[in-house]
Symmetry: C2
Subunit: 355 residues, 2 copies
Amino acid sequence: MALAVHLSSSPLLTSKADEKYANVKWDELGFALVPTDYMYVAKCKQGESFSKGEIVPYGDFLISPCAGILNYGQGLFEGLKAYRTEDGRITLFRPDQNAIRMQTGADRTCMTPPSLDQFVEAVMQTVLANNKWVPPPGKGALYIRPLLIGTGAVLGVASAPEYTFLIYTSPVGNYHKASSGLNLIVDHKHRRAHSGGTGGVKSCTNYSPVVKSLIEAKSSGFSDVLFLDAATGKNIEEVSTCNIFILKGNIVSTPPTSGTILPGITRKSISELARDIGYQVQERDVSVDELLEAEEVFCTGTAMVVKAVETVTFHDKKIKYKTGEKALSTKLHLILTNIQMGVVEDKKGWMVVVE
Amino acid sequence: MALAVHLSSSPLLTSKADEKYANVKWDELGFALVPTDYMYVAKCKQGESFSKGEIVPYGDFLISPCAGILNYGQGLFEGLKAYRTEDGRITLFRPDQNAIRMQTGADRTCMTPPSLDQFVEAVMQTVLANNKWVPPPGKGALYIRPLLIGTGAVLGVASAPEYTFLIYTSPVGNYHKASSGLNLIVDHKHRRAHSGGTGGVKSCTNYSPVVKSLIEAKSSGFSDVLFLDAATGKNIEEVSTCNIFILKGNIVSTPPTSGTILPGITRKSISELARDIGYQVQERDVSVDELLEAEEVFCTGTAMVVKAVETVTFHDKKIKYKTGEKALSTKLHLILTNIQMGVVEDKKGWMVVVE
Ligand SMILES: Cc1ncc(COP(=O)(O)O)c(C=O)c1O
Ligand SMILES: Cc1ncc(COP(=O)(O)O)c(C=O)c1O
């Protein structure tokens, strides 16, 4: 593999690259694109199954102006991370779960998905090809972004005649800049998803509609937006790119995955870990009233793993929650990142070595 | 302009092309892509305004795998038609209305839109460049598809750093194959839009989510799907790509544009024309019960102009409505297409000559 030195494309690059690492300023990583060397591309015609797929140089690719993704938003994405452990392995966290979620999404959006094996295999190939871009232990992770998009030309509203499965990567550090907890604002104007819509799958169509709320929230100093359910406006659903949990006493509660929130893989894993350490975990409707009376609130997602919520603003109320060393969120974050970073033994069988 | 003869790209092409017309089998046009010679492309960086734009050969273009449209569905589209009149002019129907709608959509999806003038000017340039593809009078129209998409690379959920305004065209005939009326089925499982979402703008995110319903409906022999409101499931909203009207006595009713349905330009024009010929037009919630008791039901949209609904299936009920020569929908279709085709004088000032 050539020792490509990317300089113009990102302010996070230095002139230092060696046999093991790309020329990245590892200490300055945030959550922005740092292009890597290679991407994976496979194609599939409607009614057929996916071709084998290829690792090709990362870069712009050709698309029809009439593609389903450009005109009708026919697209899904996934997000997972590759970690470099202290003992020098590169590992993935539950990639089969992302593969399964892409299949559910493909069914909802009428596309043919790659098989579970092809998905995981393709993720591994992409990581291996870009292994120099996996940050050193403790400096972050290689974020992996699989896309399944309708690239065939389609004029009337319908499924595209061809789909592309593409994977690109970027080394990342923290998703949210705040090192303390998140400051969320409850959105009263916009809803994220409705029953019978696509809120339960990772469809691209769930994301651009929340950008306006996000921009407004950030310009008022908030970290992110907490959405309420479209049906009643009384229950909490999730944050723009993460799930939410509340803690009261010994009970951890999180909204159920009944079609309007994304079934997060971190959410599922954290629920299991919380049970392991003696908490009762309930998946059920969580009202705003309960949120306001919780002791702790935290978010989960691939990007931030577990992140404490410091405050929630609801109309003119601003509620402060427990954060810091003694918080459950801190404990759960540590338990999970220790598994992910290979610091403790993975008794769950969650980690997969890339080789 | 070169006399390009496209043969491989569409089964609707013949080997006959001349100075005036492209090599299209004009009598066989449906609503599928027949690629034309040129497209329009302009770019805009976030915070700046659109560059002048260029007419370039129609074809695939380069896009970043990390583009906002591919990952987060940041895209809007428009749809309008160019007509060739009997006296040899090429005209557009209310293109300023599409320009305005793109501006509203751009505000909702956090993109910079082209100015109204640039939009209309760009549409004209694109039509002129493809003038041989405007069907002969009575054979159809040149469908024009403007796109506004986030093409800049963006890794975390946010507005893309660059937008592309692109226009391509395709000659089209009828949208729905049925020459009689539409057979609609009321969807009980999926909703199209929720209040506080993007249903009121022409965002790509409203379309892939309805494809599953459409496929199911078509496989059961229906022409299209009628969606109910997400809030109550009691009122009718619209069909996958058109607005809906009901007629009872002297009153024509259509759901209001309060954020969950697209404010159709045909809808607005037909409302005006119906008033002109003595009907009372009400924009208000229309319940399923009223739909079932209507005398006539019809749909409006750029693709089909006005189309009678022959039947609506609601659970196990199948209601038949008046269609045919004496139906109001037939009358309104004729009045509007006569204006669009230049058969009668355009007293409204709706038609714009392309020159
Ligand atoms: C809307 C939304 N909710 C929740 C999550 C968390 O899911 P996961 O834990 O699988 O990353 C994501 C993705 O990261 C998301 O986009
Ligand atoms: C969902 C939807 N409703 C209604 C319409 C009709 O709008 P117009 O009359 O402007 O074409 C369209 C577009 O054609 C549409 O996509």
